[in-house]
Symmetry: D2
């Protein structure tokens, strides 16, 4: 398959759609993103890399950080996570607090905000207030690139506007499912969201999820094979909030989106993918990024549900 031609076809297909959707505006640093930006990177486990668009453009990874935090937690705590965070899709976004209240402060899964906040709490228990630095190191290590940083301006803005996250954390603490003070947990969480990367770095960072947990370039073992399956399963069932079912239905690949406009995806045993376009659809996922992955699935036939 000629992936470069496919990428260029996708680029050509999505160009007329640029301008649709809305850039996130809840913090200033996100609202200034250029809605015409688009980038897509394919990283094959053979080492080949294919690119199209603004692949050097960095953006905050936002909720994509939840994948890395959960990778760390799976390795560190494994079965201890069970009982504190579930693995079920969350139904619809409107009821995050509702579900949390009915379900006694146990979040549905680690890819919704309250779930990631509990994971942050577990990391703070383990690493202390340097947990955010450990997450950054883990991410740098995953993409074998130590130039990556946290955008402190974005982290500060997230913190200032983060009253819903404070509400979620407080509610869970009232149920006993948060063990540390709220401040360092939320700092860790907001800092992880504010890691900046481009699609080249992001695709590289999850290459091991397409290769049983082993980075095929460095041969470093980053994750247990059993954990790789679980991360991929969670990305499929819970990776796109209340559009996860539709993503699985139309695209059929494990993937995770962030409100910064990035999406990562995995074709198991074949490649990792990262796509970027900051304008969002009504579910809070990159509109063009989702479309690009839909086209990718159609053109290549790659799907975990069947050969095309």
């Amino acid at each position: 398959m000629n992936y470069q031609i496919i990428l260029e076809q996708i680029h050509s297909d999505i160009t007329p759609l640029l301008g649709q959707g809305k850039v996130a505006t809840y913090i200033p640093a996100l609202s200034i993103a250029d809605p015409n930006d688009f980038a897509m990177t394919l990283h094959l486990i053979t080492g080949e890399v294919f690119h199209v668009g603004h692949v050097q453009k960095t953006f905050s990874i936002q909720s994509i950080s939840k994948v890395f935090m959960y990778c760390m937690a799976l390795s560190l705590f494994e079965d201890k996570i069970q009982g504190r965070v579930g693995v079920e899709p969350s139904g619809s976004s409107f009821n995050s607090l509702v579900q949390l209240e009915y379900e006694n402060g146990i979040p549905r899964n680690p890819f919704i905000n309250p779930g990631a906040i509990v994971i942050a709490d577990m990391l703070v228990t383990h690493f202390g207030e340097l947990a955010d630095d450990e997450i950054l190191q883990f991410f740098r290590n995953s993409c074998d690139d130590f130039s990556i940083t946290i955008n402190q301006e974005i982290a500060a803005s997230e913190h200032d506007s983060g009253f819903r996250n404070l509400a979620l954390a407080s509610l869970m603490k009232s149920f006993g499912n948060i063990h540390n003070r709220l401040e360092p947990i939320l700092d860790t969480y907001f800092n992880a969201c504010s890691i900046e990367a481009n699609t080249t770095q992001l695709a590289r960072s999850i290459l091991h999820l397409a290769h049983n947990g082993i980075d095929p370039i460095t041969s470093n073992v980053l994750l247990h094979p059993q954990h790789v399956k679980r991360i991929n399963a969670l990305m499929l069932t819970c990776g796109h909030y209340d559009a996860s079912g539709e993503f699985a239905y139309k695209i059929g690949l494990p993937a995770k989106s962030g409100v910064g406009g990035g999406i990562i995806a995995v074709v198991p045993d074949v490649m990792s993918i990262a796509v970027y376009s900051p304008a969002l659809n009504s579910h809070g996922n990159s509109l063009i990024g989702t479309k690009a992955l839909e086209l990718f699935a159609a053109y290549t036939g790659h799907s975990i549900f069947s050969k095309s």
Copy 2:
């Protein structure tokens, strides 16, 4: 891989667990099932079949019928389904009516009761009151076995105790999402649930879902390849009510359970699976059947999320 030895190991592993769980009791015909029954069939796309346990024992397929009804609907109506039934996981079971009310009578997906009732309504619009017979023929055709029948006693019992389904149908009708009279729709739905089969027949009936929609034995085209992906995606994200996430997380195969104790599963491009054991876990899925599939995934490494 020696599948026969694996099946026998699974049988041996689950034997001490027989007696756990609870047989469904809401209708008499289900409550008399023997909790010690267990059967498992693997049907490879090469034609090889492996069995263990009471593989001639028939049981009502219950919610597994939702898969066949949706296969028919996808072929017949395709995009017209959109707008009347979604493709998202439903969150938790407790709120079936809640979600339906908030979401204006549009069910989350076709594998929960209200979703299947809308599909039944579409089939009644298309086939008239013979819709149930058409579903039976479709199922017979899928397993290439025309001896299969509907258990009328079970269908009648389902009908008599089906006030929650009547509530769901009435609510959707009040929202305009049911077009026919309630009686023939519910008859169709209850009759489809009351189709009886054994694991041999069930595994055979979904073999095409492991083979791009083509029955590898007869070479009949039963489903469009694109629809196969969608059915498999839906089984993965929505096949086990509010335990769908856990099933994907632990087992990693598209599958659908029924309250009669059956579960069907697909290893894309490799095989179809049917397992039977009537005692249920707290989510209403076969307790032993789920365990058997977990062992199968562990022993074979089969998963859509990675090679083991």
Copy 3:
């Protein structure tokens, strides 16, 4: 106090508002009501009656019938009601089915639809399928006027469009809180809603609720004094769906509205009131009728919460 002058002042005050609000349209017979109709009757326990507007105009009493059904049930079944229907405000209308599901099919109070349906079930158990006739007789007796009838056309329309009520009844039956077949219960309920009266008859029918259960004109004992307090308390806390609190806050009198445009109210130990105007506000209560009662409370100072 010169009540006639007060009524005329109210009439003059509300005239500019005629045309606001919306007549109920869910059944044809209601949708043809004239939004300019207005009538108000005060019936003092001394026997004096004051009128303004179209006081001979009849309309279907709709949910006002729930008061009479509950009066009958209190006398007949008393403490047996407890456990099947509560006495708490229902929160907001949006969640009628939600609450019913969470609360295991026990309706919040007898003045919301599911509550009245359970009361209808109890009356059907007691009176058989003639329960609707018994309700009509009770109402006729309460207003000492035997010319009152049920509008069969409205009853039939209610029945044909009553799928939400069927959903509520089915759900409660699935929880075991409905004992009879659904058909006669819903017939009873819809027939009671379709009783027609004018404001003169309505005010007369509840005069005993302002007089410890005794009709001051005929001296007939219609209700136990303890039950009068309870009916009045329920009207205050639950009489106007999710605007009950605001009605108590602004008007301070026990009252019950119907979607046909009528409202009844009680000034304990002083008088009964009926008002009619068919255009409804967003809560489903008569917009002009509510306004008229607000003006009445302001002009007279009558309130159960304090002398003015």
Copy 4:
């Protein structure tokens, strides 16, 4: 009516019940209350006072403070409250966060925690961080007793265990319905809850609510007559969480309970009442206190819904 004899009869009636119910345990200072304590005071608008039990025993007024905060707010802000806090019963307690989320951060009424927190926010806007002191002064003034203080130990404990209140405040802030920093608002709220009084002081403090807003002893005007009606209406519809309907139904008097074991009640134009007993029923209201008021209503016939 011989109120002293009635009080003694009530005391005798409730004595066998002492020991039922459970003292609040969420903070240490509350958990040490003696479940055998009981006190009841009637304060007539004529100036006569009747007592029974431990009437010198002080306790934290807890949610009863919400009445005083709302009295202040009505006088200071009047119509500006509308739009930020409603006047509807809240349905059931289980869904405080649920309702708040659906209703965009606008609490149902000022007598549930989120409603009182918004009122505290308004008072902080008006008075700055001395708002708690102003509330204390208002309360002291209402009972004409300047010895009353805030129990700082209780206030500190409330603060330390108040994560659910922090969750409520954060959620409302995320909706823009909290204007100040969370810290001073919650301090104000917890300090008001921690005011200590005995039944003599409490009955005295609300005497004006039985007398059109005028303290009949000092002739001080404490509240506008229109506001008195509204406070009494709110106490009736919203004074006892999800047992408000039952309280209105059985007792028929405006009243407000606190988790410290106190209840205040008003017989409009006749008297004010305070009762104390710290063991709570399942709704969080004083079990013996509720029973005492039920007996009071039965023995005296006092009700806002009818003469007995």
